[in-house]
């Protein structure tokens, strides 16, 4: 019996490699593209942030300019109520009752409520 030999011309190649087509661009191009998109985004972001900062400054200054005005109005109202409270205390107690051992202006803790509707 003759020995078992390879076929004439040798065996066929064993296909151990995957034969998948490489789709698309090289990965480095995707990397570059991603960075370009991000660079554009950051460019827009920084310009927007700068404008936002300026708008915030504008808003702050507009409020700074009218703060003394609003404060003056509030102070006058507080002083008016303070004098009214003092007058009532004088009338009821006969003397000005000093609550705090200090000459600072203290906003009253309890508000006077008129007995009848005043407005």
């Amino acid at each position: 019996m003759p020995q078992d030999m390879p076929p004439t011309g040798g065996y066929a190649q064993v296909q151990y490699k995957r034969n998948l087509p490489a789709r698309g661009f090289k990965p480095v191009y995707y990397m570059i593209g991603m960075h370009m998109i991000m660079a554009y985004g950051f460019y827009k972001y920084f310009h927007g942030a700068r404008e936002q900062r300026e708008l915030a400054r504008e808003k702050m200054w507009s409020r700074l300019h009218i703060t003394p005005l609003l404060q003056a109005e509030e102070d006058r109202d507080q002083v008016r109520r303070h004098f009214a409270d003092q007058a009532r205390a004088n009338e009821l107690l006969g003397s000005d009752a000093k609550v705090y051992n200090s000459d600072r202006f203290v906003r009253p803790t309890f508000a006077y409520t008129p007995a009848s509707v005043t407005q």
């Binding site: 310009h47 927007g48 404008e51 936002q52 300026e54 708008l55 400054r57 504008e58 808003k59 200054w61 507009s62 409020r63 700074l64 300019h65 009218i66 703060t67 003394p68 005005l69 404060q71 003056a72 109005e73 102070d75 006058r76 507080q78 002083v79 008016r80 109520r81 303070h82 004098f83 009214a84 007058a87 200090s102 000459d103 600072r104 202006f105 508000a111 006077y112 409520t113 008129p114 009848s116 509707v117 005043t118 407005q119």
Partner: protein, 159 residues
Amino acid sequence: MAQRDPRFNQHVLVDTTPMPDHIPKVEEIGATSAPLHSAAFYIGDRCRAFNDDYMKCKDEANGRGEIDCLKEGRKVTRCAASVLKDINTHCLDQFKSHWECLENNNHHLWECRKAEMNLSKCVFDKLGLKKTLPGAPEGQVPVHLRPKQKYAQYTGPQY
């Protein structure tokens, strides 16, 4: 359910006793937030000295500023009232369109640059008051003079 009237409301909490006679009277501004926001920079331009004076007085009054600085406070209010009166007599239309625009746009100044431009032009011509934005970076157009506003609903040039 039985209807019950509320026992507490805001009416009875207001003390309406007037100011004593020895303190001079001053008429309050009475403007709402939008006109004040619109006129703030012109008030700041004309009344800078009074405002600074008042804030300095309050700072140095050692906690008694409310009573001791009434005089300075009256000056501040009178000055601001004079600015509003002048704007109302000379630039009423532009002023009104600007603050109504602010009122309709959530008080966003950047939505109303066109009305603001008209107002500032009129105010500068008639009253000589100018809107300046201190502390802005060098070499840039100040944000209130840029026709395009990035955060406006319409991002194109507003005027």
